[in-house]
């Protein structure tokens, strides 16, 4: 299979220093959050939601309050207490900041990856249906996509989040209790589906005009066969790039929703809820807001680097990374 598209793409990706750096950074973050139970059980000796408000911790042989009488949490102790409160405590409740960052990262990454997966799969289905059948099917699907796409992302998330925050979701077969991480996950999947489906639909419409698709239709292939065997394989490159960049955007959306109280619910940690907690102490303990924000930044940066690398490797003329942000199909300009 010398010179197959996949090999060419892999070779290009290996030569892309930005993409390699992004992959390394993302891998480091994944290792960081996966190590959460190890750190919590063997080093910090506490859980993410365990409070230590009135406790003292021994630092280099001297006892120190985890939370002072005025309510200021202890700052980073590094290894002074054998790894306990490595990055200090998280506020009045005196929870271990390091442990919460690691567990919170799991929640944030889980939500971002799952929501983007839901968004991408439903977008693929919608784009294939709209692009293959065209006509009224396309008219209905693209009208609905346009409407949802026109809604500001954060606000649609907030509207759904606040409406579901108290009573949970109860829609026939789907029933999710209030406070579940599935609520922000499903919200994200719904909100971002249009951002992925609209560019993909444009791509399907363009592919539909190409000879090999026309030939398959003329040869009597069933709609499913054309969609799954002819069109879908050609959508993967764009879909993968859109997915990667969407995970990055979903990280930011989760943070925004949780920060405002419409996402992950207390006491569960996510990087967004930790930012909200840190904001209350921004002047006395700025690190509590800076640390989770920095982790989000690094994760989003790594994903954008990977997305850029993939976009360039799979199709050098592709504008998929821009499409992922704008939710619009950006065809190559025809040379006049």
């Amino acid at each position: 299979m010398e010179g197959s598209p996949r090999r060419t793409a892999l070779r290009r990706l290996r030569g892309d220093r930005g993409a390699i750096a992004g992959l390394a950074l993302f891998a480091a973050i994944v290792v960081f959050v996966l190590a959460a139970p190890l750190w919590a059980n063997h080093v910090a000796d506490t859980g993410p939601n365990a409070t230590h408000t009135t406790e003292k911790v021994e630092v280099d042989g001297e006892p120190r309050e985890v939370v002072s009488v005025e309510g200021t949490p202890v700052g980073p102790l590094w290894l002074g207490a054998g790894g306990k409160f490595f990055l200090g405590a998280d506020g009045r409740l005196g929870r271990d900041e390091m442990v919460r960052l690691m567990y919170g990262g799991r929640t944030s990454l889980f939500i971002a990856l799952t929501a983007s997966l839901i968004a991408t799969l439903s977008a693929l289905a919608l784009a294939l249906l709209a692009g293959y059948f065209r006509g009224w099917v396309d008219a209905v699907i693209s009208f609905l996509l346009d409407v949802i796409w026109g809604f500001p992302v954060l606000l649609l998330g907030i509207a759904l989040g606040t409406a579901l925050a108290v009573g949970g979701l109860d829609l026939g077969p789907i029933s999710i209790s209030a406070g579940s991480v599935w609520i922000p996950t499903l919200i994200g999947g719904f909100v971002f589906a249009s951002y992925i489906a609209r560019p993909l639909r444009g791509e399907v419409l363009a592919l539909r005009e190409q000879e090999f698709v026309k030939a398959a239709v003329a040869a009597g292939a069933s709609p499913w066969r054309v969609m799954l065997r002819e069109l879908l394989p050609n959508l993967w490159p764009t879909a993968i790039v859109l997915f990667t960049v969407n995970v990055a955007n979903m990280m930011l959306l989760e943070a925004g929703l949780s920060f405002l109280g419409a996402g992950v619910q207390a006491p569960d940690a996510s990087w967004g809820t930790m930012i909200a907690g840190g904001f209350e102490l921004i002047f006395s303990s700025p690190l509590l807001m800076i640390l989770p924000s920095t982790l989000i930044f690094l994760t989003v940066l790594s994903l954008n680097l990977i997305g850029d690398g993939l976009g360039a490797a799979l199709n050098p003329r592709s504008r998929a990374t821009i499409e992922a942000h704008t939710g619009r199909f950006e065809p190559k300009r025809e040379a006049a």
């Binding site: 954060l154 405002l260 109280g261 924000s293 930044f297 954008n304 821009i322």
Partner: protein, 317 residues
């Protein structure tokens, strides 16, 4: 043009209707006990009964929908949790929000055009690489990191700028700008990167077009070719993008920025209402922000068709 205008406005009305149905569905149909949730966290049974009555929760859905729309558009929506007149609060917050968004937009467009232009005409060289890295960082920055650093260092430690509050433009223009510098910058930083990248990609494509070669061939100066022929054409798609993003600010970045910097605008009203799980304001604001986007989108489309007549032909096909 007339037929296009009518078609576009008709589509706009259709979208507005569907959005109002979606908002109605989210707040009045989907939740388990909508009346209790609209009445607020600490509502008494009497208040819930009153809400059920006013909002007509016993009526069939279409009648309910009409009741809710009437409440919303006659300005009779009330926040039961905080005893606020939603309509009044929105009008009060509008100046701060518009000041924030307009100022941020000027800053982000200026730097995006500068960065995009510089990197496209130096494509592949160090300037381009550095600027594109800066843009990637800008796209990846969470608003929280920028504002935490700005608040802690520029405002608290160095005491250069105030950390919160809004001063009316008519009261004191200098103080108005002074209070908005940090929020403006914070919000602008988030958009500079994306716009610089989009513009760079557009510029690179336009550069290869025949009319640019013709312009050079007929002896136009390099500067004139770059600005008049390349930049001008590359900016057109940015107009649509900008129209949408600007309109979406009210339902997006402005919510968090206003909350962090306590600007007291519509965004902060949204944030506070969410924190209290106070549904009526969130409902009205969702409708308002979405309508704003749709109307803006239609206006941009019409302006765009007027700027570039080729579009109309393409769309009417």
């Amino acid at each position: 043009m007339g037929a296009f205008l009518l078609k576009r406005l008709g589509r706009m009305l259709g979208v507005l209707f569907v959005i109002s149905v979606i908002v109605f569905f989210i707040f009045n149909v989907m939740p388990n006990e909508p009346a209790a949730q609209i009445a607020g966290k600490s509502a008494t049974p009497e208040l819930i009964a009153q809400v059920e009555e006013t909002w007509g929760f016993d009526d069939p859905l279409p009648v309910q929908y009409l009741t809710v729309m009437e409440l919303t558009f006659t300005g009779e929506l009330i926040s039961y949790t905080r005893q606020l007149d939603v309509d009044e609060e929105i009008w009060k917050g509008l100046p701060a929000t518009l000041s924030l968004c307009a100022g941020a937009a000027v800053i982000w467009l200026f730097f995006a055009v500068l960065f995009g232009y510089l990197s496209a005409f130096r494509a592949g060289r160090p300037t381009d690489r550095v600027l594109m890295l800066v843009s990637l960082v800008s796209i990846s920055l969470p608003i929280f990191l920028v504002s935490a650093l700005a608040l802690n260092y520029l405002s608290y430690k160095l005491e250069l700028f105030p950390s919160s509050g809004y001063v009316g433009l008519t009261e004191d223009p200098l103080d108005w700008a002074y209070h908005l510098v940090l929020p403006w910058t914070t919000m602008a930083v988030l958009f500079i990167g994306l716009y610089a990248r989009v513009l760079r990609a557009n510029l690179l494509e336009v550069m290869d077009e025949d009319h640019v070669r013709t312009a050079r061939a007929k002896g136009l100066g390099e500067r004139q070719v770059r600005v008049r022929h390349v930049l001008r054409n590359a900016l057109l798609p940015i107009v649509t993008l900008f129209g949408l993003d600007f309109a979406a600010l009210i339902g997006g970045a402005a919510i968090i920025t206003e909350y962090i910097f306590s600007l007291g605008g519509i965004g902060q009203l949204t944030a506070n209402s969410v924190a209290d799980l106070d549904l009526p304001p969130v409902m009205a604001l969702s409708m308002l922000a979405a309508f704003f986007v749709v109307v803006f989108n239609a206006l941009v489309d019409i302006a765009y068709t007027w700027l570039d007549p080729r579009i109309k032909l393409e769309r009417s096909r």
